[in-house]
């Protein structure tokens, strides 16, 4: 677990009371976000996203696989996240932690529920063979807000994705119907702020991640942390997150 000294915690909370954040940002301001696509030649699509000091790479691979018996004509989406030991002193090698599983599942939900990938058109031989879209999220440097960075990296990698060079691929290309973007807000001492940095995450009471598509609809949501949220928090978060999602979507190259 990450440890923060009490004096540092008090300093961060004290600043917030004065309406200031520890790194000088406004409450509704993201750190500098950069998106680079197509860095990995061996992947069908890839992207590197940096949000402040946080760095996340996502790679998409499309391979043939067996369908699930209850959906014999549908392609499969697999989202996996690795919290690499090189990304933080608190990440350890071994089976995925609770944190890694939650991260992957929150990103998965945004992509799956927005129906951005045309999985229902990805059968090769119904009941026997379908295309599987693997999205692997590689967390390289953990400086807070891994969810937004990972979701943006996944979306950017999907936008970058070229179909496999295989005759069995029948779709005209690889295109997305929707562009889901996740925005996370932290609640600290009753205040809501977007894109918490690592230190803010260490002192936050709760966080709320909301994933929006470009039509302004909500497609996934996840509360985290051991604090609670009021109805006003949730409604304010909805509006802040939706607005911020538009900025991030443009950076990823979406509409």
């Amino acid at each position: 677990m990450e440890v923060i000294s009490r004096i540092r915690r008090d300093y961060i909370l004290h600043l917030l009371q004065q309406g200031k954040r520890v790194d000088g940002r406004a409450f509704d301001q993201f750190r500098t976000v950069t998106v680079e696509k197509g860095l990995i030649k061996t992947a069908n699509g890839s992207a590197m996203v940096k949000i402040g000091g946080t760095q996340v790479m996502a790679g998409v691979k499309i391979e043939k696989g067996e369908p699930f018996p209850d959906q014999p004509e549908e392609g499969i989406l697999v989202v996996n996240a690795e919290l690499l030991p090189l990304a933080s002193p608190t990440f350890e090698p071994g089976p995925p932690s609770e944190e890694a599983i939650e991260l992957a599942r929150v990103v998965d939900r945004g992509i799956r529920e927005s129906k951005c990938i045309e999985l229902e058109k990805m059968a090769i031989t119904p009941g026997e063979e379908v295309w599987t879209v693997f999205i692997d999220i590689y967390v390289l440097d953990h400086d807070g807000n891994l969810i937004d960075a990972s979701a943006l990296a996944a979306l950017s990698a999907l936008i970058d994705t070229k179909p496999p060079a295989d005759e069995a691929w029948k779709l005209p290309g690889f295109s997305l119907r929707k562009f889901p973007v996740a925005v996370t807000l932290a609640k600290i001492n009753g205040q809501l702020l977007v894109d918490p940095c690592l230190e803010e995450e260490q002192v936050m009471d709760a966080r709320l991640t909301m994933t929006f598509t470009e039509d302004g609809a909500l497609c996934a949501m996840q509360k985290g942390g051991s604090g609670s949220l009021t109805r006003e928090d949730v409604e304010r978060a909805f509006r802040m997150a939706r607005q911020k999602s538009e900025e991030l979507r443009r950076l990823a190259g979406g509409p």
Binding site: P96, E98, I101, E102, A104, R105, R109, R112, E113, A206, L208, G216, A217, L218, C219, A220, M221, Q222, K223, G224, G225, S226, G227, S228, L229, T230, R231, D233, V234, E235, F238
Partner: protein
């Protein structure tokens, strides 16, 4: 299970409920002998048991915290609890649910009272019909109270969602599978503080607000049932 043509017919759901109506809810406090606290919840066709052990010494010791108690939750589904046998043991879904259940309960506990200790909450789903995490939270909260662990209040939980374009309270498996949206919510009902909030599917802003309204009202009903269960066991007659 095949998709029925309609999930809502003449304003009624397939099981006859109105959109804002909950399934039947039965809560029993303290059904288990050995556990420090326990509860059994039936929400429609869901059957869920929760047991609480502790505060007790943390094993493994290195996971203990010097300034507070650890709340450890384990949500599990019995292999026979679903249509097709589920392989026993934890999977990614159950690990995530265990985490969000823990975070839903932590806000009402005084974990700083028991440094170096652990409170174990075990949630076992015996029969599942959508809403198992909410039923599990409802059971766990009553079990914690039954264990005599100091709490600020109970935590009450219910799911809302959208089926055939209508926002509904407390989805069944059929509605969850073939509906558009599922949004489990848990809250401290009297203070209206949300401690669990997840969602997948599709909501516009208006639908989302309406869903929150339904969830608030649902949780209040659950809260009453939880209190009633504790009174049943502890009231001096």
């Amino acid at each position: 299970m095949n998709r029925p043509e309609k999930l809502i017919v003449d304003g009624r759901r397939l099981d006859g409920r109105a959109p804002d109506e909950m399934r039947s809810l039965k809560i029993v406090a303290g059904p288990l002998q050995r556990a420090d606290g326990s509860a059994y919840v039936e929400l429609g066709n869901n059957k869920v048991l929760a047991a609480v052990y502790g505060p007790r010494e943390m094993h493994p010791k290195h996971e203990a915290e010097p300034d507070h108690c650890i709340l450890r939750c384990r949500y599990m589904m019995a292999p026979f609890s679903v249509e097709e046998r589920k392989r026993p043991g934890p999977d990614r879904r159950s690990m995530e649910i265990s985490k969000v259940i823990r975070e839903a309960l932590e806000p009402v506990l005084f974990l700083e009272y028991y440094p170096r200790a652990v409170i174990d909450v075990f949630v076992e789903v015996l029969q599942a019909d959508a809403g198992t995490r909410t039923a599990g939270i409802n059971a766990a909260a009553v079990a914690l109270a039954d264990a005599g662990i100091p709490m600020k209040d109970l935590v009450s939980s219910i799911a809302v969602g959208k089926v055939d374009g209508t926002v509904v309270l407390d989805l069944t498996k059929m509605e969850d599978q073939f509906g558009e949206t599922d949004m489990p919510v848990a809250m401290i009902a009297r203070r209206k503080e949300i401690t669990l909030l997840q969602m997948d599917g599709h909501f516009t802003e208006e639908e989302f607000r309406h869903a929150l309204d339904l969830a608030f009202r649902g949780c209040e009903k659950v809260y009453e049932a939880q209190r009633q269960a504790l009174k049943e066991k502890y009231m001096v007659r």
